[in-house]
């Protein structure tokens, strides 16, 4: 299994900690340490530390940088001040999503784009294709490591390690600061629904930072957390995962990400398709489900009403916080217009589920 997989700077540390490792997007990553549910509960009640260094970073700079970023994405990048972060979607001509990303405005003409590990090469090559002579696009993933510290105690744990006044750092904003003497981009962002921070640092400093954070937080019950918990946490919030709720064929409107699309901004790739979809209604709709009969819905299972196939599950699990089976799935426009219960085909058994609103878990 190990041959050919990429490893983050923390790979040896994960193995020493007894992490169970799995392959993810060509990387060997920790899926769990003490247990998925344990780690999930830790993040919701105390804090967890994730190694997310497999994610990619692409730098965009030059006099044409802002115009370029606006053209290739759905959200309004011009609204970003320096030191602000923004959730955004890169779009195809047909309105489908290339990737969901976070933009960081480093300067008037410099942006850092954090991309999904699974889309690193795709995003970079597509951005290079779209770029004109007045913008430089650089894949700087190899120089960055990234850690995510998430949970109600995250700020309490982080503050003693940095001179940055964290109570002044607003959500979706970032600053450069020393953390345990390691220079980091510290942003108040995350994928868990909890308060928390994402720390970008030099690859060579990652192990030291990881160790110092775990030591600093031990006393408050900080634990390392893996991809298993990362997935159950984001699913409880209803956050999409590229490759499940989002792919090259799904539009932001189908995925319930209408709020990301700023039609008021100047022309952007995919705009005309989305304008039409907004007027006519999207052909399918991402829907949140809670099972009311025993069973767990899994990605790919069929969704039915009156024995007619009306859609498919994109993600599902048993929510550690709710103790219930929850799922996200696409329903046809017609089917989505009704809030009647549906049936999930769980390995041949039709299992009743009700439609609910997001998030599954309110924070």
């Amino acid at each position: 299994m190990a041959q050919g997989l990429k490893k983050t700077a923390l790979h040896a540390a994960h193995r020493r900690a007894g992490a169970k490792m799995v392959e993810f997007a060509g990387w060997e990553m920790p899926v769990q340490y003490s247990g998925v549910i344990d780690e999930h509960v830790a993040v919701r009640s105390r804090a967890g530390l994730f190694d997310v260094s497999h994610m990619g970073e692409i730098e965009v700079r030059g006099p044409g940088a802002l115009e370029f970023c606006q053209r290739i994405s759905a959200n309004d990048v011009a609204r970003m001040n320096v030191s602000q972060a923004q959730y955004n979607l890169l779009l195809h001509e047909n309105g489908g999503v290339v990737d969901d990303v976070i933009f960081y405005r480093l300067d008037a003409e410099r942006f850092l784009v954090c991309v999904n590990a699974s889309n690193n090469e795709k995003d970079f090559s597509w951005m290079r294709q779209q770029a004109g002579a007045d913008v430089e696009v650089d894949n700087v993933s190899a120089s960055y490591a990234q850690l995510a510290l998430q949970g109600p105690l995250a700020e309490k744990i982080l503050q003693p390690l940095t001179g940055l006044a964290l109570d002044e750092l607003k959500a979706f904003h970032f600053q450069f600061a020393g953390v345990a003497t390691v220079r980091c981009l510290v942003s108040r962002t995350g994928y868990t629904g909890e308060n928390g921070f994402e720390l970008y640092c030099d690859v060579d400093a990652a192990e030291e930072l990881w160790r110092r954070l775990l030591n600093a937080g031990a006393h408050d019950g900080l634990v390392p957390a893996g991809l298993g918990a990362r997935d159950t946490l984001r699913l409880e919030m209803g956050y999409p995962l590229y490759g499940h709720e989002l792919d090259d064929t799904t539009t932001p409107l189908e995925a319930g990400l209408d709020w990301v699309v700023k039609f008021s901004k100047p022309a952007f790739i995919g705009r005309s398709i989305l304008v039409r979809q907004k007027a006519e209604g999207a052909p399918r709709r991402l829907t949140a489900l809670e099972l009311v009969e025993p069973g767990i819905a899994r990605s790919g299972y069929g969704l039915y009403r009156n024995d007619r196939l009306i859609g498919r599950v994109t993600s599902g699990t048993k929510s550690p916080t709710l103790g219930k089976a929850i799922a996200l799935g696409y329903l046809s426009r017609e089917a989505a217009a009704s809030s009647d219960d549906i049936d999930v085909d769980i390995r041949g058994r039709k299992t009743r589920a009700k439609i609910v609103t997001l998030p599954f878990v309110r924070r």
Partner: protein, 154 residues
Amino acid sequence: MDFPEGLRYSKEHEWVLVEGNSATIGITEFAQEELGDVVYVELPEVGEKIVKDDPFGAVESVKAVSDIYAPVSGTVLEINDVLPDSPETINDDPYGDGWMIRVEMNDKDDLKDLMSAEEYAEYVEQQKDDEDEDEDDEREDEEEEEDDDDDKDK
């Protein structure tokens, strides 16, 4: 790791407790550790027939579904009704409170194919050795890479 003496074991990591003609079945400590947190168990109904080596149910972790294979053929007499509400019992007590079903065996000869505690312990060691070998290979690769990096700095 625990390998209770009085049980018989299958290659698919199920255990069997034989009492007269009845067989109580569950999954082993090794199996529950490999699975991680169990969040759901699918069991047959009382009265159903299970067939040796065919799946009779499923055990689900957060991420995935794993079939459970019948170590013997028989008819289901009893199922553990603690499991629907508390599937994590399988993690906490795989050989005791985490039992899954009790069946009336068709043919006690089915037991011949199962392993003793010693044989199963060896079998598990084998599985772990194979995992460790992969890890050792990886560690060697990592150390080689580090040596190469050191050389580059010179």
